[in-house]
């Protein structure tokens, strides 16, 4: 049987197959952050193990870091403790560490690609489920638990059964105002949050071929929200252009050699997938979620369904709407909002800030809205300034904050207060995800911007020039 892209990369990393068990998979790149690594280091030490390949692990502080006054000591003692532990462990074992304030610091899934660490054909893991982001480069990338973080540190391998393969094809062209985020939310609304459980996704078709690397990262990032282990896209010229010249990318002869290998990374024409699904690009609208899981999404101009459109169960559907304080059949447009969050590893890259600015340019932030604009990394901040987007942000009455995960998981001070409604470009709208009692509407940077200047949920197509 001919190979899929996924097969090619996976099989190249299998050290051995355990009889009636998982594969031992070799890991090329390992990212760690302050929240899921400290206990892994403790485990490592209590077993008397060492970090075997420190040069293959990269540490960055992002999950609980403040997004203002990063030059001051971190106030929350528990967060400070985790940040110290990360720095201490990195130093002790010779792992590169981008702490608060470092020019390379930022959200792990933003800084990996930016620095040329993320490469096609690599296996990449991190103790964060949105590690799937890196699949945009044709890598196999997925989130792992803390025990597995310890495994990678002490053996550079993890043990996993090989997932099944799913190809999602979307052909045609996207409508005006429809972004990669909408494509992903659309797919999840069709598949539900468990529809791809047990699978590894390959995205194929015009829509992904025509998408920028930033957009591909947004789509792959959200693979986990349909239950998949991860998602990937075959590398092409765009991929190589993005990587070339980045600090840690292969250079000279190594680059040539790498390119030779990368050009073999695609699914053969007659490769068979365990499951194959196709959607039509023209069907996709700017999306918004109305419930408490990312599968509960609809076109922004649509009404909340009268019954659960998926099979996730009537009890959780009712519970979910009750939590959101929404009714079946209600329209999403015009709902008054309190907060807007632009950021996260889903939508915290330069293109997202460009899209946001495209709408707010020449307009003003609505008085009832508190907005947190949090770039994914310092490099994104620099680029925002280089392109003059900071001026647009400023004159529209918004404030640019410092990089980090921020209100994506609200481990720092950026918490949406109980009962408040937020339009967020992040990836999860679970109960309390953005702070206890917070209510989250997931959407694209365009929908977020349109809602931020209107004060109510707004279709960005009405504001696009």
């Amino acid at each position: 049987m001919a190979n899929t892209l996924f097969d090619k990369v996976w099989d190249a990393h299998v050290v051995r197959k355990v009889k009636e068990g998982p594969d031992v998979l070799f890991i090329d790149r390992h990212f760690i952050h302050e929240v899921t690594s400290p206990v892994a280091f403790l485990g490592l030490e209590s077993r008397g193990n060492d970090v075997v390949y420190p040069e293959k692990t990269f540490a960055t502080a992002d999950h609980n870091t403040p997004t203002i006054n990063q030059h001051l000591p971190v106030e929350d003692p528990l967060s400070a403790n985790q940040l110290d532990a990360l720095e201490r462990n990195a130093k002790k074992y010779g792992i590169s560490h981008w702490g608060l304030g470092d020019k390379n610091n930022g959200i792990v899934h933003v800084v990996g690609p930016e620095n040329g660490i993320t490469l096609p054909g690599a296996t990449i893991v991190c103790g964060d489920s949105h590690t799937s982001t890196h699949g945009a480069f044709g890598a196999i990338a997925f989130g792992i638990g803390t025990s597995e973080v310890e495994m990678v540190l002490s053996t550079q391998c993890i043990m996993q059964p090989k997932p099944k393969s799913l190809r999602i094809n979307i052909n045609g062209s996207l409508g005006v105002g429809v972004t990669p985020k909408d494509v992903a939310l659309y797919i999840i609304s069709k598949l539900t949050t468990s529809g791809a459980t047990g699978y590894f996704v390959e995205y194929a078709g015009d829509v992904f071929t025509n998408m920028s690397m930033e957009g591909r990262m947004t789509v792959c990032n959200l693979s986990i929200e349909m239950g998949a282990r991860g998602g990937m896209i075959a590398p092409d010229e765009k991929t190589y252009d993005y990587i070339k010249g980045r600090a840690l990318a292969p250079k000279g002869k190594d680059w040539e050699k790498a390119m030779e290998y990368w050009s073999t990374l695609f699914s053969e024409a007659d490769a068979e997938f365990d499951l194959e699904l196709s959607f039509d690009a023209a069907e996709i609208e700017p999306m918004i979620t109305y419930g408490t899981n990312p599968g509960m999404g609809i076109g922004v101009s649509k009404s909340i369904p009268n019954s659960d459109p998926s099979d996730s169960g009537a009890t959780s559907y009712k519970k979910s709407l009750a939590y959101m304080n929404f009714d079946e059949g209600e329209s999403m447009l015009g709902k008054e909002i309190d907060f807007v969050f632009l950021g996260s590893c889903t939508n915290g890259r330069i293109e997202d800030f460009r899209a946001f600015c495209n709408i707010i340019k020449g307009r003003k932030k609505a008085a009832n809205v508190t907005a947190w604009l949090v770039p994914g990394s310092h490099k994104v901040v620099d680029q925002i300034k280089e392109e003059g987007l900071d001026k647009i942000i400023d004159s529209a009455g918004f404030v640019l904050r410092e990089p980090g995960c921020s209100a994506c998981l609200a481990m720092n001070d950026d918490k949406i207060p109980s009962g408040k409604l937020s339009v967020s470009t992040s990836n999860r709208n679970f109960e309390g995800r953005q702070g206890p009692g917070s209510r989250t509407l997931l959407a694209s940077p365009l929908v977020a911007a349109a809602s931020a200047v209107s004060g109510v949920v707004t279709d960005p197509r009405t504001l696009l020039n």
């Binding site: 031992v24 070799f26 400290p38 459980t197 899981n293």
Partner: protein, 199 residues
């Protein structure tokens, strides 16, 4: 992380017939700030167990005295979706549970459970409904989870179903071993493989 061996477990069970329970509910993000593995049992389902003023929500199954001390939780479909935080699996174990039964598990959660000594048992939705009905009819209903034979049985009626687990993971659970023990044993093979990787 060392855990106790698992063989045959007979226990009453907490019922949680809610679908799509995500890891942010199992352990909210604000409790992930530990640098040691302590205190997770207390914050297991924190926001569903306690009001904002810290008083317990007495109606929530995990707070009900009649189920206290159960070692099994029977959850709704798609249990453990969401984040990769292993803290969710730790909190299950630290709360005193050794087994979660559901008609469907999220991938990473299931994997994390197996790594920390919690047995995820996937049953048909029909059997899950039987379990819920039996527990709701009689909170003292006992469930027997037999790992060697891979069966789960309602003790009172004898209704039984078998479940899947791969031989490797099964041996680990039976012996209290984990993947690191295995990997450390094949270190030479791994380092030989590492030399063949281009980057």
């Amino acid at each position: 992380m060392a855990y106790d061996k698992f063989n045959v477990l007979t226990s009453t069970a907490y019922p949680l017939p809610i679908e799509n329970v995500d890891t942010d509910q199992i352990i909210p993000a604000r409790f992930l700030k530990a640098t040691e593995r302590v205190g997770f049992g207390d914050n297991f389902f924190r926001d569903w167990r306690y009001n904002q003023d810290g008083t317990p929500k007495t109606e929530f199954p995990l707070n009900k005295e009649i189920y206290a001390g159960s070692k099994i939780l029977v959850g709704g479909k798609n249990f453990g979706s969401g984040s990769s935080r292993e803290h969710a699996a730790w909190s299950v174990y630290d709360f005193g549970l050794r087994c979660v039964i559901s008609s469907f598990f999220a991938d990473i959660f299931r994997n994390n459970c197996l790594n920390v000594g919690v047995l995820p048992v996937q049953v048909s939705s029909g059997f899950a409904d039987q379990l819920f009905d039996a527990i709701l009819a009689d909170p003292k209903t006992e469930i027997k989870v037999d790992l060697p034979n891979q069966t789960v049985t309602l003790v009172a009626t004898g209704a039984s179903e078998s479940f899947e687990i791969n031989t490797y993971k099964k041996d680990n659970m039976l012996n209290g071993f984990d993947d690191i023990d295995y990997l450390k044993n094949i270190e030479d093979e791994i380092s030989a493989f590492a030399k063949t990787r281009p980057f």
